[in-house]
């Protein structure tokens, strides 16, 4: 399982109702259904990912998140998840509001653009970073918003969103003391557990 997925697995209670936005091939949801007995649905628009979910027996709905989530009732899920996708949507701020309307709690993971290597790349080369983790050019990237660990934290404060816990890890899921002490500089992936 992808490193950030392993991390959040520990935070998730068994037997809850989960909505996984942009679930991809459903790795996390599959794991949670099998091991935590959660009930849940994934939303996805990629035909191959959808088929992979159907193959594994993961309930998956073809729905474009950018077109809204009005079809889900207020507080109808215990947890709304979004791993490594927030940066791909038109209005992350409004999407977070929607996620907190639908779910009692949310877990969001995203690539931290404040990582020292991104900074160094931009500072020294003067060009947008292309890495193993974000292997796209500026013009063809699905990631249309770049933000940092601190940016997200600040948005939560502005919106009066409670940060229940957070984690910051490198590409190998190691959460060394230096990452914990300076997550904005050292984490490659930021993980936030939030609620209203």
């Amino acid at each position: 399982m992808r490193s950030d997925l392993e991390m959040i697995d520990e935070w998730i209670q068994p037997n809850i109702r989960v909505l996984d936005l942009a679930c991809g091939p459903g790795e996390l949801l599959h794991h949670l259904i099998q091991n935590k007995k959660v009930s849940g649905y994934g939303l996805e628009i990629g035909p191959d990912d959808l088929n992979t979910c159907i193959k594994k027996g993961i309930p998956v709905l073809e729905q474009n998140i950018d077109e809204g989530l009005q079809n889900f009732d207020d507080q109808s899920f215990d947890l709304v998840l979004m791993t490594h996708a927030l940066q791909q949507f038109r209005r992350p701020d409004l999407l977070i509001d929607e996620m907190l309307r639908i779910g009692k709690e949310c877990i969001i993971t995203f690539p931290n653009f404040g990582h020292w290597r991104s900074r160094l790349h931009l500072a020294l080369k003067g060009r947008m970073p292309v890495s193993d983790f974000l292997p796209y050019n500026w013009y063809d990237t699905p990631n249309i918003h770049f933000f940092t660990f601190q940016d997200f934290e600040r948005l939560c404060h502005e919106k009066n969103i409670k940060i229940l816990r957070w984690a910051a890890v490198d590409g190998h899921l190691k959460d060394h003391w230096w990452i914990r002490s300076m997550p904005n500089l050292f984490s490659e992936t930021a993980i936030f557990h939030i609620s209203r």
Binding site: R17, S39, Y41, P47, L50, N51, C53, I54, K55, G57, I58, P59, V60, L61, E62, Q63, N71, F72, D73, S76
Partner: protein, 385 residues
Amino acid sequence: MPDVIPADSVGIVTPQIAQFDTPLALSCGQTLSSYQLVYETYGTLNKNASNAILICHALSGDHHAAGYHTMSDTKPGWWDTAIGPGKAIDTNKFFVIALNNLGGCCGSTGPTSINPETGQRWEASFPIVTVEDWVESQARLADLLGIQTFAAIVGGSLGGMQVLEWSIRFPTRLKSAVIVASAPKLSTQNIAFNEVARQSIRRDPDFFDGNYLENNSVPTNGLGLARMLGHITYLSDDAMGAKFGRQMRHDSYQYNYGIEFEVESYLRYQGEAFTKRFDANTYMLMTKALDYFDPASQTNGDLSAVLSRAQCEFLLVSFTTDWRFAPERSEEIVNALVKAGKLVSYAKIEATEGHDAFLFPIPRYMAVLSTFLTRIASNVTTETL
């Protein structure tokens, strides 16, 4: 007219007839004292009778869903693209049953059958049957064939409504429900189209208030017109445009009411061909079954409340250019199932064919169907061991 039967065809099939002598109480209040259903089967039923799939047909469908009746048939069954060895509904794995619904005109008891009480054809006196009545009669056919629980029940359009009804009425009798290009009830516009179709039949002077056979007549003009209208609504604007555009019959306009554009000729042909194979009373009856279907009416319009009875898992499929049963209509079912906490997956397939897309072997559509049913088949196998 196949010279040889294709390897992925179920081959030559023979319809069978099931006779029922237990009276069937219908939604309309009347009772059918006896009736028969014509059906076909493809594949082999396993020892536990756990690998059966029921196919529910749409407005103008019948029991001949796959294969050929004779080597001189010009066309295979209506869903041959999806049913056969190695196809999405794989007859190597499943025992597939397709029937002609009650009220039909292809061998099951319907308006053209003889009413045993009068010795005359039923015609206009045949009672109106509903989706609920069909599902009830299909369950009796399942009993007769020794099938307690279906691995899947599959249907498109009006067929999808029957599948939905199955999941509510007989929750323990199906493991999975596949509902394609359907809706939880007709929209006002849909009912309106149906009414125009019915009026065009009823106002044909050859209709004789529904007793046309007795009068040695057939309302071909009305039925043809109804089919022409229906046909337009089953296709998308783009699909018709791509097929015919403004292609003309002659080099220049004729300034009369003969055929100018190819699409006119196509529609006339479709209308006329339909009158040769379909009965007008059956057509009207099927449109009424569509109009009446509304399972949420049992729970004050709350679809998710009525669907909370369901126990099977669901697959819903819609098509982007379908405006007769638009994706939003399938999504109403999906949302109600999510609200009720049921297992459901949903795919919205990019397709140019409009509502008719559900009959086409669109690769992604077939892949979704096949992936879903392959998993259902493996569950069946695991249980058998």
